[in-house]
Symmetry: C2
Subunit: 217 residues, 2 copies
């Protein structure tokens, strides 16, 4: 039986890299597999950056071996979606791994799956996630089986490599990392609130919190 991997997109404004980062890693696993992008509203959808992509219905994947929940710019929309949450609870019965990126962990928490569990999220969304009963760990990748969560946006690549390491070992992980030439070298070192200048951290936090709060029901 091929491995079934489902990426759930229930944010109204999903973030493309949240989905594509792990997809790019998992699609290279040396095993027979089927990758599906599913959403409560199947059809053409739009990432928050404007790229238009196609999603299948939740019914198309009644039983996934691995679930990945990317995040997006409007977590409250996804957290309120009953169809997605019911589908996630059903997947929890059998899936080997349930992964999240960025605000994807808040969707899992809203579905009731992360109570008392250790998980991470985008650095600006730690407090709302903690308020859902999650033990928020401010790390880039957090494993609490069967859950594995990534911090914001780009952290999904590292999360998927960690999953690869656990499922396929070092050589396969190295081969995939090398194939993607993932040898990061950003021109500056400001990718976490500990590393960016404090005034930039303040400004980015204010902007994101304001944007997200405006959509809170």
């Amino acid at each position: 039986m091929p491995l079934t991997i489902a990426f759930l997109v229930s944010h109204r404004m999903p973030t493309a890299l949240d989905l594509v980062g792990p997809l790019e890693v998992i699609a290279r696993w040396p095993i027979e597999k089927r990758l599906h992008v599913v959403a409560p509203d199947a059809g053409l959808k739009t990432f928050d950056t404007g790229l238009i992509f196609q999603a299948a219905s939740l019914d198309a994947v009644p039983r996934a071996d691995i679930v990945v929940v990317p995040g997006g710019s409007d977590p409250y929309v996804a957290m309120a979606d009953e169809l997605s949450k019911a589908w996630l609870r059903a997947q929890r019965e059998h899936a080997k791994w349930i992964a999240s990126v960025c605000t994807g962990s808040a969707v899992l928490a809203a579905a009731g799956l992360l109570a008392g569990r250790r998980a991470t999220t985008h650095w600006t969304f730690r407090e709302p996630l903690a308020a859902l009963g999650v033990e928020v760990v401010p790390e880039r990748v957090v494993v609490d089986e069967p859950f594995i969560s990534a911090a914001g946006v780009s952290a999904g690549i590292d999360m998927a490599l960690e999953l690869t390491l656990r499922e396929f070992g070092r050589d396969t992980t190295a081969a995939i990392q090398l194939g993607m030439e993932y040898d990061p070298a950003p021109p500056i070192d400001a990718g976490s609130p500990d590393k960016a200048p404090p005034e930039i951290v303040h400004r980015v936090r204010e902007r994101i919190v304001r944007f997200i709060s405006a959509q809170r029901p």
Copy 2:
């Protein structure tokens, strides 16, 4: 006038992260802008990982300020596409930047735009790129204005941050990097042929070269 940024997808099997990495960065630029994904065959297209996305026609963007050429698993298809190459040559007349990721630089070279220019590409495709008259520089990001090229797949993120640094300065670059939480921490360090174990480098090179060569016209 808003800035027009066009992502050209002319590979039959484009690589999603080649496009989405730079898209995720550029979409956060603090300026009015229009982002377009264009292809010689408009409509629904499929990334080599199976994700289906929508592209507009080349005619939809007669004049871009910035062009990004993502790569893909079948560079020879893209390098042979006369419509794409003519469009690229027309963009060269006015675009401020022409960027590439992975085998995207080979498409620029095939269009006659990189003769004698310094550029990079996926580490397995350096020799074919050099054979097109390009001075191949085995670095992650290479700038030879108006061209800026990235190495394989994930390097497009770093390339777009370098472009951000040059266009908008350190504070904006830091804010975008922090917003994407791009503080990479892969579980192992094997993302370049200098860092991966030699037998893995050999194996990955053989597989990719065989796959690409099989499609050579």
